[in-house]
């Protein structure tokens, strides 16, 4: 019984035209060889039979040639591996862990999805059902395509099955015949969702982003050598090994698509969902992408993707087809049975027509047929397939299938003790069919490699095997993947994300340079405009305007730099978080750990330059430090507001409302006094961080018992010679430094907490 999956894998590997130097195929052949003992003729015999079968099945000569060539290459690789001297234990374990994953079959019955939206004409919430009681199954080892016309519900079905949409979903979804909610944690551990558009940071190299994903997903209990071997293996499998040191911005469309798949393969999820993986690619990229997916499916993965208008060459690569029309299933079954199925319904596909295009023409009603008949025929075919599978199972399996069928009929199944006993019996009986664990496969591979007389020292082998004890397989742990490794901790996630931010900042330094230079430039301009106004009693108002302009500049640059770039980050955060790369806390902490020091640095540079030029540094130095601290706090308050605005509003509205709010709040403190404000708006005075920063700066420069200012000899009388007179005139003599700092600190803390809550709500409630 153990031979069957390996033979199937070899056969599938040979059938894939592009698989010419596949490690999976070689390891499969080695396993086959190991089992037989003296397998040379047997192995070649099986390959010859496969070649003959391919020749008979192929409809043109090209496929036969490809199959024959791939089999020869497989034999060649096998011969090369026979001469391998010393086994690489880490490499073998990495390959074994990656090449085999536990089979996961997903069955769903009566799946419905409803959305609520507000109807303005009727002035109430209207419930609309999008998916109408869909049934089906996605099996391991199969590449399934979900097709249908636009607006039929393809992406909706994918989102529902992956848990990307969880509210409004009803129905029975089972994984390996056990009920499991798509939004539960155990379900999300075994799947990943790859979106249609690729959002990659263009500054990172391919190797760097793969290593980062490996660190985040596999944690640090796994050694780096293991990770590097795994990364090289995955990249070579996907044809990206020659792109290891290339920035991701330089990759082509097809390569970006494959890199997005490679990043999710690091944790080896049994189930992959892809939303239109071929959209936007040209013909050869489409072919290589679908061929890759087929290779992954042959290794035991369950791959489901929505696809739009595939060509016939790509259509033939799919194992199974699931067609959705207006929320109903119109066809479900193997791809090669599509044309006979349509012929049974008196729909004949013309010559030189793509069956996929013809199916879509039928789906949109171009052939004047009643789609309900097709939907009923599809349901009937599905039940027949279910009945066909029943005869292959034991009596207990038959009982479970009958229970599922009754559930589909709309009846409520009461779980009695007998059903529970059936579940226990099913688990116990299915124990015999569980494939060997990856550690066992690794052991067998090492034994096969070291079968010759020149094998390594047995003590060394035993020493290597000792740190990897095989865990006991319990019945309760069957649903958990055996190679589940704890992901990185909070601190390590934070460190890794911080490294990524620093690398991106180092390579894309134009924006950062623009921010630094703008601060320096405006600092010089301000300093020149208000040169030597700091100690002059006649130019107190000039210095007043300088302090106001400084606060306005720091508030503006602190906010706008974040508002522009943060909405783009949210898209990357959404999908990386859904695919369980990291948690929200480490991400946000690393984000503000970079922005806060950088903005503080820019502020400090500006203040140092402009304070020196305006002559405000002629007096005590502690006033400069106070001014710098207040400027930094005001800038960080505006930055926290920018994060919140960027997280809440779309880009256009955020960019529009950011400066409007900044200018609106900047009126308080500059042109008004507290006593003159209408009582209705006095609360704005207290809440304005701009006023706190501005008044604090004024108090730092002119308050705290500053001595008299210099009065030029040409002037007869200087009204503001004493700083106290000026502060009293502006009615800010009772401003306390601690009040300003506390207010701005509160603003920073509250806005960051609100941003975190908003992001958490966006990521978890969908």
């Amino acid at each position: 019984m153990t031979l069957l999956p390996d033979i199937k894998a070899s056969d599938a590997a040979c059938c894939v035209g592009g698989a010419n130097s596949d490690a999976s195929s070689s390891s499969g052949v080695c396993s086959l060889k190991g089992h037989h003992g003296d397998p040379d003729s047997g192995c070649l015999g099986i390959n010859c039979c496969t070649t003959a079968a391919s020749s008979e099945l192929s409809i043109d000569e090209t496929s036969s040639t490809s199959s024959r060539g791939s089999c020869e290459l497989t034999s060649k690789v096998t011969n090369d591996l026979n001469g391998f001297q010393s086994p690489n234990y880490h490499q073998a374990v990495a390959h074994a862990n990656f090449d085999h994953c536990d089979p996961v079959d997903i069955q769903f019955a009566d799946v419905r999805y409803t959305v609520k939206k507000f109807s303005f004409p009727e002035r109430k919430f209207v419930t609309k059902e999008i998916l109408h009681g869909l049934n089906g199954s996605f099996r391991s080892g199969e590449l399934t395509a979900i097709m249908g016309p636009s607006g039929a519900g393809k992406s909706t079905l994918l989102n529902v099955m992956s848990g990307f949409c969880s509210t409004g979903v009803s129905g029975d979804i089972r994984v390996n015949r056990k009920p499991m909610a798509p939004s539960s944690e155990r379900f999300r551990q075994m799947l990943c969702y790859i979106h249609q558009d690729d959002l990659l940071r263009p500054q990172l190299l391919v190797g760097e982003i793969m290593l980062l994903a490996a660190h985040l997903k596999l944690g640090f209990k796994v050694t780096k050598a293991y990770k590097m071997d795994l990364i090289k293996h995955i990249l070579s499998l996907l044809g990206l090994d020659h792109r290891y040191n290339v920035p991701t911005g330089k990759l082509s469309g097809g390569q970006k698509k494959r890199l997005a798949i490679a990043l999710e393969l690091i944790s080896n999820p049994p189930v992959l969902y892809l939303d239109e993986p071929t959209t936007g690619l040209d013909s050869s990229s489409c072919s290589s992408c679908v061929a890759l997916l087929k290779k992954l499916a042959s290794q035991g993965h369950t791959i489901v993707c929505t696809i739009h208008q595939p060509s016939a060459l790509i259509f033939e690569m799919f194992d199974k087809l699931y067609t959705v029309v207006d929320g109903h299933c119109m066809y479900q079954g193997p791809v090669r049975e599509l044309v006979p199925f349509l012929a049974d319904q008196q729909l004949v596909c013309p010559s030189y027509h793509n069956p996929a295009d013809y199916l879509l023409e039928v789906a949109v009603g171009e052939h004047q047929r009643d789609l309900n008949e097709l939907i009923h025929a599809a349901n009937k075919k599905y039940y027949e397939d279910v009945d066909r599978h029943r005869y292959m199972s034991s009596d207990d399996m038959a009982r479970l299938v009958e229970s599922i069928k009754e559930n589909m009929g709309g009846k409520a199944v009461v779980k009695t003790s007998e059903a529970l006993a059936a579940f226990a019996a099913a688990q116990f009986s299915s124990f015999d069919y569980v494939k060997p664990s990856p550690q066992e496969l690794a052991l067998e591979e090492i034994k096969a490699l070291s079968g010759g007389p020149e094998s390594a020292d047995p003590d060394l082998l035993e020493k290597n095997l000792r740190p990897q004890p095989q865990p006991l397989a319990k019945a309760g742990e069957l649903a958990r993947p055996p190679n589940a490794i704890r992901s990185a901790s909070f601190l390590m996630q934070y460190v890794l994300l911080m490294q990524r931010i620093l690398i991106c900042a180092k390579r894309n330094y134009f924006l950062l340079l623009a921010r630094i230079f703008s601060h320096i430039f405006i600092g010089v301009v301000f300093g020149y405009l208000y040169m030597n106004v700091g100690n002059n009693a006649q130019s107190v108002l000039g210095n007043y305007v300088y302090l106001y302009g400084s606060t306005l500049l720091l508030v503006y640059t602190g906010k706008m730099a974040v508002v522009l770039t943060f909405p783009l980050e949210i898209d990357m955060l959404t999908r990386e978080h859904f695919n369980r790369w990291y948690k929200l806390g480490p991400y946000f902490l690393s984000l503000i750990s970079f922005e806060i020091p950088f903005q503080s640095l820019c502020t400090a540079m500006y203040i140092i330059i402009s304070v020196h030029l305006t002559g405000n540094d002629a007096t005590d130095s502690f006033r400069i430090y106070y001014f710098m601290l207040l400027g930094i706090m005001a800038s960080l308050s505006a930055q926290a507001w920018g994060f919140f605005v960027g997280a809440t509003l779309p880009t256009k509205l955020a960019v529009f409302l950011g400066p409007i709010l900044a200018v609106m709040f900047s009126v308080f403190g500059f042109c008004t006094r507290y006593i003159d404000i209408t009582p209705l708006f006095r609360w704005m005075w207290h809440l304005s961080y701009f006023r706190a920063g501005f008044h604090g700066a004024l108090n730092a420069i002119y308050g705290m018992d500053r001595p008299f200012l210099e009065c030029p000899e040409t002037a007869m009388y200087c009204h503001f010679r004493s700083p106290k007179v000026f502060l009293k005139y502006m009615m800010i003599s009772d401003v306390h430094m601690s009040d300003c700092l506390i207010l701005m600190g509160i603003v920073i803390g509250v806005m960051h907490v609100l941003t975190l809550i908003t992001l958490w709500h966006k990521l978890n409630k969908r």
């Binding site: 016939a312 030189y352 894309n508 108002l541 305007v545 200018v663 708006f681």
Partner: protein, 677 residues
């Protein structure tokens, strides 16, 4: 002439019957097609252009390489070809093959070829005449969301047909066109409510108003579902059968769409690998040992061959077989006898039909005249913009209420400050808020909406709807009423609440300065957004405003005795906000204003007299008329500069080598990253 039309009509009907008889749904489609054919040929009142055959030879197009400045990349490599009238021709090929480049070169849409020539009816193409004959329909549908289908069609008819036809005749033309394109049911539907297919057909209908003989479409089926794609191609076929030359680039045609095409032009790596009927692709590929399986779409198959999916040795033989487009219509050799007699008859009939149609008729000079005068274009566009502004109800309410809220807020902040001597300095702040308000409030909406509006302008201007000057004049004029009303509301509220002197001439002076400031800020925003994208404009606008704000209040507090250098004085004159501040201060404090009231709580009021305050603030040398003149000059300067910037952008002129070199240096050394949302 009547005899020729009737003969042409009958022949077209016969060809249509022959072509559609092979379709499964021939019974249901044929009556509609017959009716449509009568409608097509019966398009009365519209100018009749001669049929156009478009021929090109040795076209070559190169672009600079993005990563290496010294190298170039060849997009089109000396391709040839011929597109016939009465035919729907599709340019297909893999990505990067040059389909859109070829289409743009033939249409003259922003690209100039390095070598080669383009013939129109066997004569070298006159670009000025050809622009009036052809229409280019873009891939993205840009439509006004505030108008119904009928209103858009009436506007297009008024702009294109002018006063030659009266309203009743224009409505007849519109009815015929919409009936042809199956849009009669959507006459009173707003453009934003149309479906994807309906929007595409409306874009075609708008360009059919003056009956162009050549229509270019860039990927008309992208973004549509399968039913809309089939309907769109079927309607293009009807348009082509009516005597037009329809050329479109299609990404991946399905088999049903592929069967509807009259001719196919396949590009791969900048060269032509096939030109001819679609049904001959299968025997064409068989010549090279490539047998198309029966379950394959021939269009997909030849594109996959062009993508080197079946090996790289087929590209050069295919290019040689068709002579890189020199063979205008590839057909299998007759001696083999593989083609059926039906196809032979169809081909022969079509060829004889096209031969008879290639008359070298002179284009009537009346066709080249502009149908619509400048004044009529300006009037029509002004009415459209005003209606568009009026129908955007939510935006009008937003602006109205925001102005009132801001006015009440500012008025409350400066309540009663105008008559108080001890608060004279803060009354100066009140005038500063007016300047800040009329800097940002007019500028930010322009930065937000104009980058979207320019797409619509680009489409209509390039398809010869109107002149740019009439559009620009209408755009500038249409903003005046709303800005005037909002300014009256805002300034009245803040003027009264802050207790400024109740003299009509002072309010009129203040209003004039504020209004001209708003107009100048609007044109300043227009100047910025005419060259930048949305995000860059939103960033650069406020950034450039900061120096203007600083210079507007420079020098306060220095007193009369302080010397201001000539350089700084010159820089202050460059800021139009400085002139606004001077004008506002002059309107409130100059011309012999009475002394302000000094409250009992104050011991001494240093700014009781206006002269002292003006001297202290450094505004003693100002003059109201001088400030107003400078503001007007800035307004005119920004308006004219924005017009030339927009004109430069629409002309698609080639980028100067120095600018391209600077861009490459920035990209190479500074990792220049532009945000293109």
């Amino acid at each position: 002439m009547e005899t020729a039309s009737s003969v042409k009509g009958s022949t077209t009907s016969q060809i249509s019957s022959l072509q559609y008889s092979s379709d499964i749904n021939a019974d249901s489609l044929e009556p509609d097609q017959s009716e449509d054919f009568q409608t097509v040929l019966g398009l009365k009142y519209l100018p009749s252009w001669p049929a156009v055959n478009l021929q090109f030879s040795e076209l070559c197009y190169v672009v600079p390489d993005q990563t290496n400045a010294s190298k170039t990349k060849t997009i089109l490599r000396r391709v040839n070809g011929m597109f016939h009238s009465h035919e729907l021709t599709a340019i297909i090929g893999p990505s990067g093959a040059g389909k859109t480049t070829l289409l743009n070169l033939l249409a003259g849409f922003g690209a100039v070829c390095e070598s080669g020539e383009i013939l129109v009816n066997n004569s070298p193409r006159d670009m000025r005449v050809f622009r009036k004959m052809s229409r280019y329909i873009m891939q993205t549908d840009v439509l006004d969301s505030q108008f119904t289908v009928l209103e858009m069609m009436i506007l297009a008819a008024n702009l294109k047909l002018g006063k030659e036809l009266n309203l009743k005749q224009k409505l007849e033309v519109i009815d015929e066109i919409l009936g042809m394109l199956r849009l009669k049911d959507t006459l009173n539907t707003m453009a934003q409510k149309l479906s994807g297919g309906e929007r595409k057909r409306l874009c075609i209908a708008l360009e059919l108003v003056n009956n162009p003989p050549v229509i270019f479409l860039d990927e008309p089926t992208t973004g549509l579902d399968d039913l809309s794609s089939s309907q769109c191609i079927a309607l293009l076929k009807v348009l082509a059968a009516g005597g037009r030359t329809v050329i479109c680039s299609i990404h991946t045609p399905s088999a049903k769409i592929f069967e509807m095409l009259d001719a196919v032009y396949v590009l791969a790596e900048g060269q032509c690998v096939y030109q001819g009927k679609g049904s001959n692709i299968v025997p064409f590929l068989k010549n090279f040992g490539l047998c198309c399986p029966i379950t394959y779409n021939p269009a997909d198959f030849i594109i996959e061959v062009a993508c080197l999916e079946y090996g790289g040795s087929y590209h050069e033989p295919m290019v040689e077989a068709v002579g890189n487009g020199k063979v205008a219509r590839w057909s299998p050799p007759a001696v083999e006898g593989e083609t059926t007699t039906t196809k032979t008859d169809t081909t022969s009939g079509a060829s004889s039909f096209y031969e008879r149609d290639q008359f070298d008729e002179e284009i009537s000079p009346k066709l080249l005249e502009a149908k619509c005068s400048w004044w009529l274009q300006y009037k029509l566009l002004l009415v459209r913009m005003l209606i568009q502004m009026w129908r955007d109800k939510s935006y009008i309410k937003l602006k109205f209420y925001m102005n009132i809220v801001l006015a009440l807020l500012v008025g409350s902040l400066y309540f009663g400050m105008g008559t108080s001597a001890s608060k004279a300095l803060f009354n100066f702040g009140f005038m500063f808020t007016i300047v800040i308000a009329y800097l940002y409030l007019p500028m930010m909406p322009v930065l937000l909406y104009f980058p979207t509006e320019i797409n619509l302008l680009k489409r209509e201007y390039n398809n010869q709807w109107y002149r740019l000057s009439s559009y620009y004049a209408a755009m500038v004029t249409s903003k005046l009423p709303s800005m005037f009303i909002l300014a009256v509301i805002y300034l009245s509220i803040v003027y009264l609440m802050s207790s400024q002197p109740l003299e009509w001439f002072r309010f009129a002076m203040l209003f004039t300065i504020a209004f001209v400031t708003a107009l100048t800020s609007d044109s300043f925003g227009l100047l910025i957004s005419s060259r930048l994208s949305l995000v860059n404009a939103m960033f650069m606008g406020p950034v450039l405003a900061v120096p203007l704000i600083l210079l507007s209040i420079y020098g306060i507090g220095y007193g009369g005795g302080t010397y201001i250098s000539p350089l700084m004085r010159f820089l202050m004159h460059l800021s139009y906000l400085r002139h606004s501040m001077e004008g506002l201060v002059a309107s409130l404090y100059d011309y012999g204003r009475a002394d302000t009231i000094c409250e009992d709580t104050e011991i001494f009021c240093s700014f009781k007299k206006s002269k002292v305050l003006l001297a202290f603030l450094g505004f003693e040398n100002m003059h109201y008329l001088w400030s107003l003149s400078c503001l007007m000059s800035f307004y005119l300067l920004f308006t004219v500069a924005a017009y030339f910037m927009i004109r430069l952008r629409l002309k698609h002129s080639e980028v100067s080598p120095i600018f391209a070199y600077v861009i490459q240096l920035l990209t190479k050394y500074f990792n220049f990253t532009s945000y293109n949302y």
